[in-house]
């Protein structure tokens, strides 16, 4: 799917919905394609829209980012649904920051589900180029958590 052209109609439709509903973020997932449209930097709890509404005439789109980072070669995917934590406990320094060089096996973050804590470890060494999740927020199975390049 690497050569799939960006469906700008769909993105515009989602951006329109974002304005209309005053949401901060919309995530659209067909199984093979996932698009997240968000305003600002801080993601709220994602709202999944089952099917796109008829595309309204393209209004001036809000700052939209189109991401399908799950196929990024450096993506570290979540092995489970749960809540993600960037530090071992509130107030502690983050396990890793953007720009850090990590080695294989190093703890990157924690995911909690049903009071079970699972450290997510670096599958390989490299440099953390992006952290895609925010502390205390839910993550889905297979969701890209961060990028190591």
């Amino acid at each position: 799917m690497a050569n799939t052209p960006i469906d700008s109609e769909l993105v515009r439709a989602l951006a329109g919905l974002l304005d209309e509903t005053n949401l901060t973020e919309i995530e659209y997932d067909t199984g093979s394609l996932r698009i997240r449209v968000a305003r600002g930097a801080a993601p709220a709890a994602p709202v999944t829209i089952a099917a796109p509404a008829a595309a309204p005439a393209a209004a001036a789109a809000p700052a939209a980012s189109v991401e399908d980072l799950s196929k990024h070669p450096g993506a570290v995917a979540s092995p489970m649904v749960g809540v993600v934590y960037l530090a071992s406990e509130p107030g502690a320094p983050q396990f890793v920051n953007v720009g850090d060089t990590v080695s294989e096996g190093q703890t990157l973050l924690l995911i909690e589900a049903m009071k079970t804590f699972n450290p997510i470890r670096a599958p390989r060494g490299g440099k953390v180029s992006r952290i895609l999740v925010s502390d205390g927020h839910p993550v889905e199975f297979g969701e890209p958590l961060l990028i190591i390049e």
């Binding site: 092995p79 649904v81 934590y85 589900a113 049903m114």
Partner: protein
């Protein structure tokens, strides 16, 4: 203890979960049970301190569930249910209930705390358990009680032995039949099912009706004021006082 469970009894340790991790790093396998008379750095969820005086039970079980991480979290329910059943057997006439996901309540108050952590590449799971046998800490997040206060004279060793026996049963059943029987048995002992609860999340609190457990163990919450159904995977559950 039923095999493969075997006991390593210590006098004093920083934390039985930390010792279990060191034992796993040193090659220990499934079934090691570590018990300490006291912990000097007992921990709870998200770095909370767990007060661990002598006479209470502090122990950790080292497990190799042989299942993906997402399923291993279901052992939280096996742990809570096993402890509730063990205490019911030891303390006739005292009421024990389960609170999502793995708390055990005695006469409505918290009698134990658990902390599950995976180690290594997720193949080992450490189940940490603290039971207030002789003393409960000052009320903090949730009202607490000890087995002594509830009128029972049992010892920490007796609680551990009864717990491991029940846990061995549920662990084996979970491995052969999956989550369904465990989920059903847990729900039969759950406090607040169908009633209003407050769930404190990392950054907010949500009020709603505790509608049940999903197939993975998440708490299904029908949010108040037609807020829809929300699936809770992590948080602290409270029951409003009426």
């Amino acid at each position: 203890m039923p095999p493969p469970f075997r006991l390593l009894a210590l006098d004093s340790i920083d934390s039985t979960n930390d010792e279990a991790r060191r034992q796993a790093d040193a090659g220990a396998g499934h079934g090691l049970v570590i018990m300490a008379a006291e912990q000097t750095a007992g921990r709870g969820r998200r770095g909370r301190q767990w007060v661990s005086p002598r006479g209470n039970l502090h122990c950790s079980l080292l497990l190799q569930p042989g299942r993906p991480l997402a399923e291993a979290a279901q052992l939280s329910f096996a742990a809570g249910l096993s402890l509730a059943e063990a205490l019911e057997g030891l303390c006739p006439g005292v009421r024990f209930q389960c609170k999502w996901p793995n708390d055990v309540l005695c006469e409505g108050r918290k009698i134990a705390g658990m902390l599950l952590e995976t180690v290594g590449q997720g193949d080992h799971l450490i189940l940490g358990l603290g039971v207030d046998v002789v003393a409960a800490p000052d009320p903090a997040l949730y009202p607490a009680i000890s087995l002594r206060e509830a009128g029972s004279e049992v010892s920490a060793e007796e609680v551990l032995s009864a717990f491991v026996a029940r846990f061995s049963h549920w662990f084996t059943l979970w491995q052969s039949q999956g989550f369904a029987p465990l989920r059903e048995a847990w729900l039969a002992k759950a406090k607040g099912l169908g009633e209003e609860v407050v769930v404190r999340l990392d950054k907010e609190s949500v009020t709603g009706i505790f509608a049940g457990l999903d197939s993975a163990g998440g708490l299904m919450l029908d949010v108040a004021n037609n807020g829809g159904r929300r699936l809770i995977l992590a948080g602290d559950v409270f029951f409003p006082v009426r």
